[in-house]
Assembly symmetry: C2
Homo-oligomer: 543 residues x 2
């Protein structure tokens, strides 16, 4: 059955009419918030989190139409088909089973008839045993020193999720263990990492599904040279996380261990696979990683089972569609009021923008509507002293606030500035900002007036433990795919990164020619020629 | 003479017509780039940097109209008036003399008749002497240990510029010296900083012009309690950077030193004042800080003297206006192909979005046109594996690429993946991305097609030394104010942050009441009441 374009759905037309109605002054958020029971009507708890969308520019009729859209698109059904192993990544002919990576029950998950859970469990068990042996000092570097520095060599989906989670859970790190990320091919990334490590105590975790990712291979090569220069045996300081049978899984190139990735888990959805599992288990211990899996699995189940009205990631996805396609906002801010969640915006930026920054639907038609917004953010309260001027008085954009009820540090509560703890001060700001954005302030001299009517949601988590970090990761994954299901796009491919790669390969060959003393190719475009000459020592003021 | 609204200027109407023309297929960037001499015509060197806008969606007629706009707005004249000490921050009745902070010549700069340079030079000399004494071990903590950990306590403009520059120049850090930032009122920020420092060897640098900034005062109080608990004398472990006569400059509260800030330098423009000077001189040595000043001064002079056609920050500002107001892009990406510049997007995000996220012009009129775009970014090539899918095939937005000709690390050049060095690989990608975005690829199956016509600029710097970091900082400052001059807005005030602060103060008082066992105020809005109860241990599923 061919997929309809979203604009042909009855709910889409209804939402267009509602969006026009919402422009009226009676639907300004200042007015909407005067209604009794606003919070009760527009908030929901589930999957271990709490989601408050009372300051979104919605009324019951809008939510009803959005739920109609969810039903006309069969969003929950689509999610279940994804979870059950259907080939939902149609352009690449693959399933999308990141949810299987965190299943801790015994239910089989079949891809084309074959249960994939035994191999998933086997990898998890391999991670547990390996991490335990490293922590016990049974596996050491080639000079016998226990591993203390873990360097993740990987880019994009091979590190952003783990980098987020590791930063979020830094207090849970095993004593003395340090985690570093070597993602960028920029040699400064390598130079700074090697300046910070003890080479004899360093384990390099090279992560690439194909084991051909240029940046990762270039950095792995640097690492290998570095180890040899230090008199260390690379085979005893390296593990790989890669697809079965890739060049990183070749017995001819021995490593301490090779952990398998599967073609049914995409990079940006892979933090609960070995991609996150190996670094996080080494850094935090396997048990913390499993707690993270547990939280993610709980949210997966919620996403697959809760009715639309109570389904957090589905609600959040519908609000993205409402804000993007009907109210016309081009961007969304993610503002965690929690320093440990500082790298969440960068992770979600990748997860969501790489998944939903598409122009073609599953039928190969160019879409008549815009898709994923630009996503950016910094932690609050810092963001208030940075770009919130623009949020309040410049170009409006929706914001997703995140609050944490219980901080990890409370012994500091004796030192109270203005009779409140730092954590209370943080919350006073969290709560104040969403209200200030919504209601504004129509009085005062022009430069002191606030238009208001700026939408936001607030997501609450009980604490910053691994379970909640897992719930949060799964919330954003599920929300991303729900959005894609509405638009009818494939959130699992990324053909948009290919053209730049192909062109870079051409320039790389030209540079290799230049290195070998051969002339630059005649068909090189003149702008590229200028940059390559400048890099080779040419002066930019003599173009 | 009252300021005209920009839309009434002749150039504005001409640009509107040109924008319509640029929509035609003959003005697709793929076609524009076929013109011989495109790079030569649309690039310029100056102020020590190189700026290539050949892949912006412009033709000579567009540039001519933009230069007319520059002339009709007297942009260079406005910049000179700012530099000369005129009261350009009219809502607050202040000059905007961040450029004076880096003047190394003997020219007087007068504000209301008074030369401010002697006091600027005195602060610089005080920084030099203090940093030298710390490095020589003549100034130590209360137990006699030399200072090794510098903790900057400050938020927004009081840390983002220094955090960017310190990260950019980390290789130049004095051996053993470590710099930490305590910006967020979130107690996790404090908890993690104190876990990373040696208390006896720690110098706290508390930065706040008014010395009343809530986050900074709350964190300074935490620091004071922490020092006392460790048996240290806060007076011997603290310096302040603050306005003369503020509570941080009170002899009754002794500190090792108080460095003055001036009302004519705004927070987000303050990295070349004591705000950046104290932390950077302690971390890198005063000489590096002065090199940074030298680079900034060079770019200031360029901005004040170069004709529009050769003026880098002015050109960049005109292109922001063109992209924002005429081509309709709501956001801009800043993508430095250099890991050390990783915090540049966050710094420029504050600098530009807080300056130009405004809706009211200098005459107090609501603007008929949009102002500053959303600014975000991550380093390349990492960004390619994150949100570049959306850049290529989703929602288009202009990008500013930044390239560095000479890397700091070259001994790694022996390890060549595919016959190129890591730095060459980085450049192959830098050069390829801007071309891929511009020309696209019209062939292939729908999901493999690229529309192209996505604009970008490329800014080059020779290396990552302090002089170039100074040039870069000044480039973005000058560009920001040039943009504001076009729109006729005040880039130096930030009334948009006030409403949230006022509301947070109300909630803070409610929380203090709750702490003291008093009931929450009756007039508290129900949503705030829910959050305050949840924070106090209430259950979110029982609202």
């Amino acid at each position: 059955m061919p997929l309809d374009s979203p604009i042909t759905l009855p709910a889409w037309a209804a939402l267009n009419d509602l969006a026009a109605r919402m422009q009226g002054p009676e639907h300004h958020l200042r007015r909407l918030l005067e209604a009794p029971g606003r919070l009760e009507a527009f908030s929901v708890a589930g999957g271990g989190l709490f989601y408050d969308y009372s300051r979104q520019r919605v009324i019951p009729a809008v939510m009803d139409a959005l739920f109609d859209l969810a039903s006309q698109r069969d969003l929950v059904g689509s999610f279940r088909r994804m979870v059950s192993g259907e080939i939902v990544n149609t352009t690449e002919g693959r399933a999308a089973l990141h949810t299987a990576a965190r299943r801790l029950d015994q239910t089989p998950v079949r891809v084309s008839g074959r249960d994939v859970m035994p191999e998933i469990r086997a990898v998890r068990e391999q991670i547990r045993e390996f991490a335990t042996a490293v922590h016990a000092g049974r596996i050491t570097g080639s000079t016998g020193k226990p591993f203390r520095d873990i360097v993740v060599v990987g880019i994009g989906g091979s590190y952003l999720g783990a980098a987020f989670a590791a930063h979020a859970l830094a207090e849970d790190a095993r004593p003395g263990m340090r985690l570093h990320f070597l993602a960028n091919v920029d040699i400064h990334n390598f130079g700074r990492v090697v300046a910070a490590i003890d080479p004899e105590a360093t384990l390099w975790v090279v992560i690439s599904k194909s084991y051909t990712t240029t940046e990762t291979m270039a950095n792995a090569l640097q690492a290998e040279h570095f180890m040899r220069a230090k008199g260390l045996d690379p085979a005893r300081h390296t593990v790989t996380v890669t697809a079965k049978g890739s060049p990183g899984d070749d017995p001819a190139r021995p490593v301490l261990a090779a952990f398998h990735m599967f073609d049914f888990i995409g990079g940006r959805y892979s933090v609960t696979s070995a991609v996150g599992g190996v670094p996080l288990s080494l850094y935090l211990g396997y048990e913390r990683f499993e707690a993270l899996l547990m939280g993610a699995a709980e949210m997966d189940q919620h996403a697959a089972e809760a009715p639309a009205e109570e389904n957090l990631p589905l609600l959040a996805a519908l609000l993205t569609v409402w804000n993007t396609n009907f109210l016309g906002y081009p961007a969304m801010g993610i503002i965690p009021y929690a320093e440990p969640l500082a790298r969440l915006p960068a992770h979600v930026q990748q997860l969501n923008m790489e998944s939903n920054g598409k122009s073609v639907d599953l039928e190969g038609r160019f879409l008549a509507v815009s898709t994923g917004p630009i996503i950016f953010g910094e932690p609050g309260t810092c963001a208030q002293h940075s770009f919130f001027q623009l949020a309040h008085q410049g170009r409006p954009f929706p914001i997703e606030f995140i609050g944490v009820v219980q901080p990890r540090y409370s012994m500091q509560d004796k030192a109270r500035h203005k009779d409140v703890t730092n954590h209370q001060e943080l919350w006073a700001n969290l709560v104040a900002q969403s209200r200030a954005l919504a209601v504004g302030k129509p009085e005062g001299t022009p430069e002191r007036r606030f238009e208001g009517n700026r939408p936001s949601s607030t997501l609450l988590m009980e604490d910053l433990g691994a379970i909640n970090v897992g719930r949060l990761l799964s919330f954003y994954e599920a929300r991303t795919v729900f959005e894609a299901f509405v638009w009818g796009i494939n959130p699992f491919d990324q053909f948009g990164v290919e053209l730049g790669k192909t062109m870079a390969a051409g320039l790389r060959r030209a540079l290799a020619d230049q290195n070998a003393g051969r002339p630059l190719p005649d068909d090189l475009d003149p702008i590229a020629r200028f940059y390559l000459r400048t890099l080779a020592g040419g002066r930019w003021d003599q173009i």
